[in-house]
Structure formats: structure tokens, C-alpha cells
């Protein structure tokens, strides 16, 4: 299983890739594997504001549905609209084409509460 070093993770299996104050958010490979075939994602709107830990959307698989909790606080800049027609991208390429939202971070100190790849690997194992 892949745990890219450039990512930060939450206990709920979301990841954030941070660059220039913008966090690209998705779910980890472990999460997509646990969920199975993903059939639908309920996504937020550009401009929505979330606090760390808020539910920013819902990820729906054949036999389960789960909230996506925002790893960080901020405003939604971009939503991966590709997922509306191709939700399976989350299964196929969760760290690449399967990203979910991009958030403009409002509190960069929150990153310290997230896990690095090694800690997250230990967490899921």
C-alpha cells in the first residue's frame, strides 16, 4: 500500500497535500480499499467554508457511505467535478486524479495536528 511522503493524513483517512497555503484533499488508499467500489460523491460548492473536522462531503460505495471530514479549516477553491461522472477515479488514483477538493487554508498551524506518512502507516497497520 502506498503512503506518499509529501502528504499529511488524518485518523479518518483523509489526506492533504499542501503547497502555497493551498491544501489538496482526498481520501487515502487504505480508505478507498476499505470502501470498495465508489459509486458517488457528494461534493461541496466552491466558496463553502469549513472548519477542521467538518463534514465537507459524502463518499458513497456500493454498500457503505461515509463522511469526508475536512483535515484543515478554509475555503473551497476548487472541486474535482470529474468525480461526478467518474467516481471510480478515487479507487483508481486516489492521490492523483482522484483528489476531491482544494482548500485555501485559513490556519496553517493546524497542519501540526496531522500525521506524516510514516505515522499514518503505523496508524492503519
Amino acid at each position: 500500500m502506498d503512503f506518499p511522503k509529501d502528504l499529511l493524513f488524518t485518523e479518518d483517512h483523509e489526506y492533504a497535500r499542501i503547497a502555497d497555503g493551498i491544501a489538496t484533499i482526498g481520501v487515502s488508499e487504505y480508505a478507498q480499499e476499505q470502501l470498495g467500489d465508489i459509486t458517488y460523491l457528494e461534493l461541496p460548492q466552491v466558496g463553502d467554508n469549513f472548519s477542521k473536522g467538518d463534514s465537507l462531503g459524502v463518499i458513497e460505495a456500493v454498500k457503505a457511505a461515509s463522511d469526508i471530514y475536512s483535515p484543515l479549516s478554509g475555503e473551497v477553491l476548487e472541486v474535482n467535478t470529474e468525480l461526478e461522472a467518474n467516481p471510480e477515479l478515487v479507487n483508481k488514483d486516489c492521490y492523483g486524479k482522484g483528489w476531491i477538493v482544494k482548500i485555501k487554508m485559513s490556519n496553517s498551524s493546524e497542519t501540526s495536528s496531522l500525521m506524516n506518512a510514516d505515522d499514518y502507516k503505523a496508524h492503519v497497520e
Binding site: Y40, E42, V58, E60, A61, K63, A64, A65, D67
Partner: protein, 448 residues
């Protein structure tokens, strides 16, 4: 024959197990003054024959619409039920079927629900219907909750012309959720657009209306959908399904969610239930609607089959985040409505609606000719109307009942005007009965 199978010995063992001396000790928390002392006035035991006789004589005190001509409405109506409806729904395969979890053994039930949903979509003009809810009022409450969750807002604006019983149910459902209910005023028996505009703000999740409304009047919602859609809220419309035979579908005036009481579609009034909650919405809300949904699919051999679908909204999967606590439906009542709609067809529904319309207007004008009675609202109405009178409403109702007529429902029962009552006329009332209503009223008034 003893129906309680516990012996004195069993009882003592149970009491010992929980560490109390006797049954009375279990009641010690209740203050003595509230405990009943003495003997219950139940008399001696009776034989089955005696009990049957007693209960029959009690039941005979009821007056039902099978012996009394009914003009009662306010949400429950005496429409004709074609014999094929009770005949088919009483088939044991349907009457005993439980929630159809197992598609392998429930194709008949699932197909009947799928057909019901398709008919409701056709009737309302909406894209998706659920498998039904408990009744119209709870369907309305679920629609309001959906709107609040979808918009992440807390304010529900309801027209004061919506059935007050339904408004009360919306309150009950939403009270603990801390949603705010705001009533938009009416004028001359219809929602007042200016009041609605004032009450609607960017915190408003939805506007709820009823057409025809509680007073039977048909309302014009020109501008209402634009008003609520302008602030990205939802337009929720309650309808009388029979009225669709003659009037516009709510989809034509911008409804996002349509709810209705389905009792008119082949279900007896039955002293208040079981009824049928109709719930339909546009495709946008497919994953947010409450309740069960049946879909059509293919099995491994490519044959058509029916299954429960979109279940990730429901409690057994989504737990506390489920769209609703209701994971059941009124399958038998939905089946009745499906058979009713198939039996009537488009033409039958149209004729039923026309008969309701003309017969109610005939009676309204006959009553209006009698001195001391007038039609309250000078507005288009469908099958129900309000009469204002200078006589005592209760006295009129009692006297009419002596002539085997349920003449209407006093509006004061709903905390409304004391001198008004609501009269409903369905396609079942023929000219003779309608004339008898007016003639009897004349006779009664003479004696007052």
C-alpha cells in the same frame, strides 16, 4: 383459560432474581396517593359469546360513512373505491409480505412498489418517488427536514393555508432539531405574496404550500418558486392527488418536492388510518430523499428484476447520518393506490376530478341560496369550501346528523372562526343527496 403463562412460582423466582420481596415493592417509587386502591370495575369474567355481544353493541354506537352521507374532509375524503382494489390487496401474498429485503423472494412486492413509484412520478411530474411514507403530514415534515439539511439553513416558511394538523406534525418532527417555523399569512383564503416575501430571507430553507389549500381554494403560486429559488431554497408543494385530474401538476409551477396524502387513492377513511404518505422530488434530491426506493435492474442472466436501491441513505447503512428515521413504507396502502390509479387511468381520474368539482360547486351555490349561509371565499375551489353562517355551527351539525348527514367540520376545532365550517363533496355525492343536504338545512333553520 389463563392467558398469562407465569405461575406464582415463576413470579417469585423472577422477584428473587432481581432482589425484591414482592410485586408491591416494585411500585414503591410511586407516591401512595397516586396508587389505585380498591377493585377495578371490570365485573366477573365473561364468555367469548358475551364479550362478542358487548363489543358489537359498543361498535354499533359508531356512525360511519357507510350509513351516513359524508361531507367531511380536511384531509380525509369519502371517495369511491373500485371493488378491484380491496379484492387484489387482500391476496395473502400481498397482505402478509414484510419489508422486502430479499429481492430473491420478493419480486412481486418490489414490482408493485416500483409501479407505484412510476405512477406517482407521472402524477406529480417529479423525477423520483420513494416507496411511500406513513401519511401526508409526515411526508411534509420529511420534506422540510430535507430542505434544511440540503441548504444548511434552519428556517421553514409555511403558508397559513396549509392544513393546521400537518403544520403541527412538521413542528413535532423538527422541534428537537432546533429548526424555526415561520407562518406566512393569508388573505381571503389564499397565501399572501407580500407577507411571504417579508418572511422569506437568505436563512430560509424552504417555502411550504398546499394546493388546493386547507380551505379547498386553488392558489396561484406565480412568483413563489422564483422567490425561493432566487435564494437557493426549496419549494415544497402539498397536493390533493385527485385534483391532478383537472389542474396543473406541481412540476409546472416549480416544485422541488411534492408531498400528498394518498388516502383519496383507493383507501378507506377508516377512522384516520392507515394512510399513505406520497413523497416525490426532482432528480437533484435523489440521494437526499427519505425512505425506501425500489429500482429496476438486471439479474446475472440479463433478466429484468427489482431491488431496493439507493440504500446508502438509510439507517442500516448510514446510521445516525441517515436521511430519515423511516426505513419502512406503507406497502399495502401504496399497492392500493397503484391499483386505484391503474384502474382509473388518466380519463377516470379526470372524470373523478370533474365530478368533485361540479358537484361541490353545485352544493356550494345551493347552500349559498339559504338565508344565513354564505360561501366564505369568492375564489376558485376544487372539492371543498368554507361556509360562514349566523347560526350556531355545532347545532347545525348535530341536527344534520339526525338526518344521517355528516354536514361538515367546524373550523373552530382548529382554533379558527367559530361561525364557519368546511364542506367536502366527492364524486360519490349524487344530485339527490346534494339536494337533500340543502333541503334538510332549510328545514333545520326553520326550526331554530
Amino acid at each position: 383459560m389463563p392467558y398469562i403463562s407465569n405461575t406464582d412460582k415463576d413470579r417469585q423466582e423472577m422477584l428473587n432474581a432481581i432482589g425484591v420481596k414482592d410485586f408491591k415493592e416494585l411500585l414503591k417509587e410511586i407516591p401512595g396517593e397516586f396508587l389505585f386502591k380498591g377493585k377495578l370495575g371490570l365485573g366477573k369474567g365473561k364468555s367469548e359469546l358475551e364479550v362478542t355481544k358487548d363489543v358489537k353493541s359498543l361498535a354499533a354506537k359508531n356512525k360511519s360513512t357507510s350509513e351516513v352521507t359524508s361531507y367531511l374532509g380536511a384531509g380525509s375524503y369519502d371517495h369511491y373505491i373500485p371493488s378491484v382494489v380491496p379484492y387484489l390487496i387482500s391476496r395473502p401474498e400481498f397482505q402478509t409480505a414484510y419489508t422486502p429485503y430479499q429481492a430473491e423472494i420478493s419480486q412481486g412486492t418490489l414490482q408493485s412498489i416500483y409501479e407505484y413509484q412510476s405512477l406517482i412520478c407521472n402524477l406529480t411530474g417529479m423525477d423520483i418517488s420513494n416507496a411511500s411514507m406513513y401519511d401526508g403530514a409526515s411526508a411534509m415534515a420529511e420534506a422540510a427536514i430535507l430542505a434544511c439539511r440540503h441548504t444548511r439553513r434552519n428556517k421553514i416558511v409555511i403558508s397559513s393555508t396549509v392544513n393546521p394538523g400537518w403544520i403541527a406534525v412538521v413542528r413535532t418532527f423538527t422541534e428537537a432539531m432546533k429548526y424555526e417555523i415561520v407562518i406566512a399569512e393569508s388573505e381571503n383564503g389564499a397565501l399572501e405574496l407580500e407577507s411571504l416575501k417579508k418572511k422569506t430571507d437568505p436563512e430560509t430553507a424552504c417555502i411550504i404550500v398546499q394546493n388546493p389549500n386547507f380551505f379547498g381554494n386553488l392558489e396561484d403560486y406565480n412568483g413563489v418558486a422564483d422567490l425561493i429559488h432566487g435564494i437557493k431554497g426549496l419549494f415544497i408543494v402539498a397536493i390533493d392527488p385527485i385534483s391532478i385530474g383537472l389542474f396543473k401538476k406541481p412540476s409546472e409551477y416549480g416544485a422541488d418536492i411534492v408531498v400528498a396524502e394518498g388516502q383519496a387513492l383507493g383507501l378507506p377513511q377508516a377512522f384516520g388510518g392507515p394512510y399513505l404518505g406520497i413523497f416525490a422530488a426532482t432528480k437533484q434530491f435523489m440521494r437526499k430523499i427519505p425512505g425506501r426506493v425500489v429500482g429496476v435492474t438486471q439479474d446475472v442472466d440479463g433478466k429484468r428484476g427489482f431491488v431496493l436501491t439507493l440504500q446508502t441513505r438509510e439507517q442500516h447503512i448510514r446510521r445516525d447520518k441517515a436521511t430519515s428515521n423511516i426505513c419502512s413504507n406503507q406497502a399495502l396502502c401504496a399497492l392500493a393506490a397503484g391499483i386505484y390509479l391503474n384502474t382509473m387511468g388518466e380519463q377516470g381520474l379526470k372524470e373523478t376530478a370533474e365530478n368533485c368539482y361540479w358537484r361541490s360547486h353545485y352544493l356550494a351555490s345551493k347552500i349559498g341560496e339559504i338565508s344565513g349561509f354564505e360561501l366564505k371565499y369568492k375564489k376558485p375551489f376544487f372539492k371543498e369550501f368554507v361556509i360562514k353562517t349566523r347560526f350556531n355551527v355545532d347545532t347545525i351539525m348535530e341536527k344534520m346528523l339526525e338526518y344521517e348527514i355528516f354536514a361538515g367540520i367546524p373550523l373552530k376545532r382548529f382554533g379558527m372562526a367559530k361561525d364557519e365550517f368546511l364542506v367536502a363533496v366527492t364524486e360519490k355525492r349524487n344530485r339527490e343527496e346534494l339536494d337533500k343536504y340543502a333541503d334538510t338545512l332549510k328545514i333545520i333553520v326553520k326550526g331554530l
